[in-house]
């Protein structure tokens, strides 16, 4: 596939890996956070950590919209799904997230009708096909997905579809990044910036990270070479003593974002004063709800939701993993009580969650061996010397 395969080339990876290593100051440890769950997934899926020297650590951030949904909101969704005449539609990765009484699959086993869709627009199709049912779309995601929900509501309004509404759980990325930066537990050297969120919000919103906190951030694509190149760009910034916002994903991310998408969001949604993020607690102005002018599409108004705050299970340490304070395997229940089959927390359920990524892809005994031949200039010289004349 074009624009994908070229960015998966192993030889270029080795070259980038060598350049990254050559920029490391001996004895210094580097910690970069990749915010976006999609990046976490790529890193583990392609074994990218094998390409990085020992002194660079990647810390996994809270950019996984499935991972940060509090259990209480799942319960609320199931409550709505239980109402007579409701057909709920949801993205696939939400189906296994556990609420306090089970996940969407469990709920279906007890009689609800929660159906998986690939696009919010599918909900409109289902609404047209089932005029006697009310279709509620479980909307999740960052600013990447919010425009799609917005466009769907606009379309529903235009087409006069009246048996459709949205249970809005969209969240915004900047407050989460700020919460990480303000957290005393974490000392980061830089950020691998979200890729797809940036196609919508652009790169300007990240300027405060470089300007006010002095950390470099490179907006990165999702192929393995993209991530390696972004790490290289971060190392260059550190070496040159700079902290700037740079865009590695320029082929897809426009610096000013997507104005049409932002307008669609603004027309149909507004910021909530505060919202609970699993593991990070309440963050102000970090989530969206349906605007008053579109209130006929707001499932929260149509159906009274319990809105009970459910505390995470005692054993669950998702919060610390989401903040990057703990590595997945450092969580007390990782792999034993909490597995993909029996997840306690969302980090294990979502395929982009750090725990799931590590359990499914990275978990095995291995020694981190640098590329056997030629990863540093010294190695090159040494091996050259060994060649008999």
């Amino acid at each position: 596939m074009r624009f994908v395969d070229e960015f998966r080339d192993a030889d270029k990876a080795r070259a980038l890996s060598a350049k990254i290593t050559s920029l490391c100051e001996p004895g210094r440890q580097y910690k970069f956070m990749e915010v976006c769950g999609g990046h976490t997934h790529t890193i583990y899926k392609h074994g990218l950590e094998d390409y990085l020297p020992e002194n660079i650590t990647l810390v996994h951030g809270p950019g996984c919209p499935v991972c940060v949904i509090p259990m209480g909101r799942i319960d609320d969704a199931i409550h709505i799904a239980r109402q007579p005449g409701v057909l709920m539609t949801s993205f696939g990765d939400m189906m296994r997230v556990p609420g306090s009484g089970g996940n969407f699959f469990d709920s279906n086993a007890e009689g609800t009708n929660i159906r998986m869709v690939y696009s919010p627009l599918d909900s409109l199709k289902i609404a047209r096909q089932n005029p006697d049912m009310h279709v509620v779309f479980m909307a999740i995601g960052f600013e990447t997905t919010a425009p799609s929900t917005a466009m769907t509501m606009l379309r529903a309004a235009k087409d006069g579809i009246d048996n459709f509404s949205v249970f809005c759980n969209h969240i915004t990325i900047i407050p989460a990044i700020k919460a990480i930066l303000d957290s005393p537990d974490l000392r980061l050297d830089g950020f691998i910036g979200p890729g797809h969120v940036s196609t919508v919000i652009g790169c300007r919103p990240y300027e405060f990270i470089a300007r006010d906190y002095g950390k470099p951030i490179v907006v990165s694509g999702f192929e393995p070479l993209d991530i390696l190149q972004s790490i290289y760009m971060l190392m260059v910034q550190l070496k040159e003593g700079r902290s700037d916002v740079e865009n590695q994903y320029s082929r897809v991310v426009p610096w000013h974002g997507n104005p049409t998408a932002l307008r669609a969001i603004a027309e149909t949604m507004e910021l909530r004063p505060y919202f609970e993020w699993r593991g990070l607690g309440f963050i102000s102005h970090s989530a969206l709800r349906v605007r008053e002018t579109f209130e006929r599409f707001d499932a929260e108004l149509r159906y009274e939701i319990p809105g009970v705050r459910v505390a995470d299970p005692k054993a669950c340490q998702c919060g610390e993993v989401l903040k990057g304070v703990l590595k997945p395997w450092e969580c007390k229940v990782f792999g034993t009580a909490c597995t993909p089959e029996t997840p306690i927390g969302t980090c294990m359920v979502s395929p982009e969650g750090a725990c799931a990524a590590y359990y499914n892809f990275g978990r095995f005994t291995r020694t981190r061996v640098r590329e056997a031949s030629l990863s540093t200039v010294d190695d090159l010289a040494a091996s050259a010397r060994r060649v008999p004349s």
Partner: protein, 82 residues
């Protein structure tokens, strides 16, 4: 690759390795979209048009790194320090 459906101007057909799907182009229509363009797709919507100039620049950078790396190896292999 894209082909715009005539009866529904907000929809277009995209081709991914021979598999075709209808997607909504409402979010990129403003910047102008035409058959032959490449787009980023997310949950049934085109989110962004791929900038071929930038893509080329990105590839060139990677090629140059690869080339420099190969040159270094070749040079060191040829060098003999006696």
């Amino acid at each position: 690759m894209i082909e715009i459906l005539t009866d529904r101007p907000d929809l277009a057909k995209v081709d991914v390795s021979g598999v075709k799907r209808a997607i909504n182009i409402g979010l990129v229509a403003e910047e102008g979209i035409a058959p032959g363009d490449w787009v980023l797709i997310h949950v049934g919507f085109a989110l962004s048009k791929i900038d071929e100039v930038e893509a080329k620049a990105a590839m060139e950078f990677l090629e140059s790194i690869g080339k420099a790396y190969e040159d270094e190896i070749a040079a060191l292999r040829d060098s003999e320090i006696v």
